[in-house]
Amino acid sequence: MIVPFQHLLILASIIFFLGLMAVLVRRNLIMILIGVEIMLNAAGLVLVGASALWQQLDGQVMVIFLMALTSAEVSISLAMVVYLNRRKKTVDVRAFDELRG
């Protein structure tokens, strides 16, 4: 692998900001969750790259914990999407702007 570490960081930051844009611009709850997924993946890319740079396994172990965290987060948040959809019959975030349960 003859790539400078910088190029890996550039790739990860482009993917991270694409995910951030998805969170900011989309109004569909599911698309916002997909944006969070993209950001977490970019973080995982940096962790694996750092693991290769310093030749330590800790970064890869962190990625495994990141995957466990992501699956827990996704299962809870998709359950909440189903719950919210049952209450208001929509997944548009503009329907949930009134701070009432």
Binding site: I2, L24, I30, S51, L57, S71
Partner: protein
């Protein structure tokens, strides 16, 4: 050779992610995102993490994205029905593109300023055996805590997603 593969895969990952972000139909987004995750998994393999690459395919592309597809199908979100029918227009995209572009530009400038970033990634390969040793010896306690976290997530998802209790159903009928 590996260098060129890295750049091609990086371009594929960025393009697939950009497509996923801009699609109106959530199902199309999820499929593009699976494509992006495959590219990222191959990059992980190039970086000497074969086990993480396999888990990226199995857990992210296999389990999590299929969960998204299940939920989209369960909610019956077809593109014409509801939720983002028009998609965000240019008026929504403009400030987000400006802010995101400014943040990305500043990040890239910071990366340029750092001299340590230009060192090259070495040829390195973490065998699954070493990886398993590190995971279950140095991080054994963390593995236990993560297993608790998954259990709590399962219980929480079951609690939030349970069907409405009898009392609530009576209230809706009234």
């Amino acid at each position: 050779m590996a260098t060129w593969i890295f750049y091609i895969l990086g371009a594929v990952a960025v393009a697939a992610t950009a497509m996923a972000v801009t699609r109106r139909n959530p199902v199309h987004s999820v499929i593009y995102l699976v494509n992006s995750f495959f590219a990222l998994a191959l990059i992980f393999y190039l970086l000497g993490a074969p086990l993480v690459a396999a888990w990226e395919v199995i857990i992210y592309a296999g389990a999590i994205m299929v969960l998204f597809l299940f939920i989209i199908m369960m909610l019956k979100l077809s593109p014409g029905e509801e939720a983002d029918r028009q998609g965000p227009g240019p008026l929504q995209w403009l400030p987000v593109l400006l802010l995101g572009g400014a943040l990305l530009g500043c990040t890239l400038l910071l990366l340029q300023l750092d001299p340590a970033g230009s060192q090259e990634l070495p040829n390195w390969y973490a065998s699954p055996r070493d990886f398993g040793y590190a995971l279950f010896h140095e991080y054994a306690l963390a593995v236990e805590i993560v297993s608790f976290q998954l259990l709590f997530a399962a219980v929480g998802a079951f609690y939030v997603g349970r069907s409405a209790s009898r009392k609530e159903r009576l209230g809706e009928e009234r």
